[in-house]
């Protein structure tokens, strides 16, 4: 049986499309479409990660948009560093990205919002980095 190049390309490409679905992971540029797949419950506790910096005697919130980054992408990054026990490294890298000499310290906050009710929110300081 003669195997045509066309058939190899078709089979290989379909396999590459299906593989991320089977392995439950992205194999960029081939994607697993897992967005919105995990069901969210109203009772789930929402976790928000917020970096802050100390400047002119008060704490200022740093949003991803201040770095021209989507807010959720920035929070996702902060969350990943926190779960890897690298919150200190995250703040240190943040101070490299924003080398402002008037900033005295950085800190990473975790805000837990149970049942999506902001009145029940609880804030924890995860890490503080003194830069001055």
């Amino acid at each position: 049986m003669k195997i045509k190049l066309k058939n190899i390309i078709i089979t290989g490409f379909i396999a590459a499309l299906i593989l991320p679905f089977i392995l439950v992971t992205d194999l960029f540029p081939f994607a697993r479409f897992g967005m919105f797949a995990e069901p969210v419950r109203a009772t789930d506790t929402l976790q928000v990660f917020e970096p802050e910096y100390y400047k002119h005697h008060q704490w200022h919130h740093l949003d991803g948009r201040d770095l021209h980054l989507a807010s959720n992408s920035f929070m996702y990054l902060a969350r990943n560093y926190y779960y890897r026990n690298q919150s200190g490294l995250f703040l240190s890298r943040l101070s490299e990205v924003l080398p402002d000499t008037s900033i005295h310290a950085w800190r990473l906050l975790q805000i837990q919002i149970p049942g999506n009710d902001p009145l029940q929110a609880d804030t924890i300081i995860l890490e503080t980095l003194q830069v001055k």
Partner: protein, 376 residues
């Protein structure tokens, strides 16, 4: 015989999983797994370096079970495909003809012009995005595809040159100048820039359908190049494969939701939770209409699972494609995600027979010959 082997494998795999894989997953999380298991898991699942501290072992055992269920599902689907091909005449004819048809020369030319114009349009902001992300390179964590090419974060000069190469290759491809070479360069640089942007621990799927179409377009242009006479027919298998890829994107996204949520995705309660999470103004209005909250997730699922029927009956495109546009607009207005100008919608252009429109044909002819050498 092949059907028998596929079905046996589909049913044996879960048993193997119960015996070996569950233990290996537990060993990985207790740091007692063999080195090759650690390496294999971390190679395939780089996100586990983070997620292992975030969820309990049971979460990952369930994900491992998902992998086995999916392998079994794919094997059963392969067996069903072979049986249907052998027993159902209409299905046999459909599969035999699917990759063996032809398309017109001008249809390929118009798809080339439209697709690379779209790629050009979506690439315009890449340089700006690249400059922004340069300031964040302390957080750069390269994707596997970038590690393969051995490159780190490019300098501003390298990024600017690559950006110009991307724009120029799209432009030259639109103008039919070395279309195969320029199409390969265009999609290579387009994917490279995305790889840079997604090397900050978050992969976006917005451009996925453009990537798939872009990876296959050079094959279609090659088929066109082999045909010298403008009016002759061109083998359309790359075009059919593009259409199949786009359909599979929707189908797999739908199945993914059903498998991961175990059906809970269809529940109005889940839908309401998503809306409440994203707080989009129109979404918050919909929360007050229980009927809409019950109907919309089911309608979205029917759309995602049913999109592939466009391949079986081409006339369905006049229903499915407008529904697709509404589906993507719906995610923007109800969940506040993505934007109205969605790359997924742009790839619907592959389902339209553009060459039926005479003025477009003349336009394609004009562009095709603009930079071609005249024969003496």
């Amino acid at each position: 015989m092949l059907i028998f082997i596929l079905l046996i494998a589909a049913f044996i795999l879960p048993a193997i999983f119960q015996t070996y894989v569950t233990t290996l997953v537990k060993q990985y999380f207790t740091n007692t797994a063999p080195d090759w298991v650690n390496s294999a898991i971390e190679f395939i699942y780089p996100r586990l370096a983070t997620e292992r501290y975030r969820f309990p072992i049971s979460f990952f055992e369930e994900k491992a079970l998902q992998v086995v269920v999916r392998i079994s599902l794919v094997l059963i689907c392969c067996a069903a495909f072979i049986v249907m091909k052998a027993k159902v005449f209409a299905f046999k004819t459909f599969t035999q003809n699917f990759f063996n048809g032809t398309t017109s020369y001008y249809q390929v030319s118009l798809l080339r012009i439209l697709f690379y114009s779209s790629l050009l349009y979506f690439s315009i902001e890449f340089h700006n995005d690249f400059l922004v992300i340069t300031s964040l390179k302390a957080f750069f964590k390269p994707l596997f595809i970038l590690k393969l090419t051995g490159g780190g974060f490019p300098s501003i000069l390298q990024g600017t040159i690559l950006y110009l190469v991307l724009l120029l290759s799209c432009l030259l491809c639109i103008l039919n100048v070395y279309p195969i070479l320029t199409s390969v360069v265009a999609i290579g640089t387009f994917i490279y820039f995305q790889a840079i942007f997604f090397s900050f621990e978050k992969i976006d799927h917005g451009y996925t359908t453009l990537n798939y179409a872009g990876l296959l377009m050079p094959f279609l242009l090659y088929q066109q190049k082999r045909t010298s006479v403008s009016n002759s027919s061109i083998p359309d298998w790359p075009l059919q494969l593009i259409k199949l890829s786009l359909c599979l994107c929707y189908l797999l996204a739908g199945i993914e939701k059903l498998l991961i949520s175990k059906g809970a995705w269809l529940s109005p309660v889940t839908f309401k939770s998503y809306i409440a999470l994203h707080q989009a103004p129109l979404g918050m209005q919909v929360l007050h209409h229980p009927l809409l909250c019950a109907v919309l997730p089911v309608a979205a699922m029917i759309f995602q699972l049913g999109f592939i029927s466009i391949l079986w009956n081409e006339k369905l495109k006049w229903i499915i494609l407008p529904t697709g546009i509404l589906f993507h607009i719906g995610t923007v207005v109800l969940l506040g995600i993505s934007s109205i100008i969605n790359p997924w919608i742009f790839t619907y252009l592959f389902f339209i027979q553009w060459s039926d429109l005479e003025p477009l044909k003349r336009f394609a002819n004009l562009l095709d010959n603009l930079f071609q050498r005249r024969k003496p």
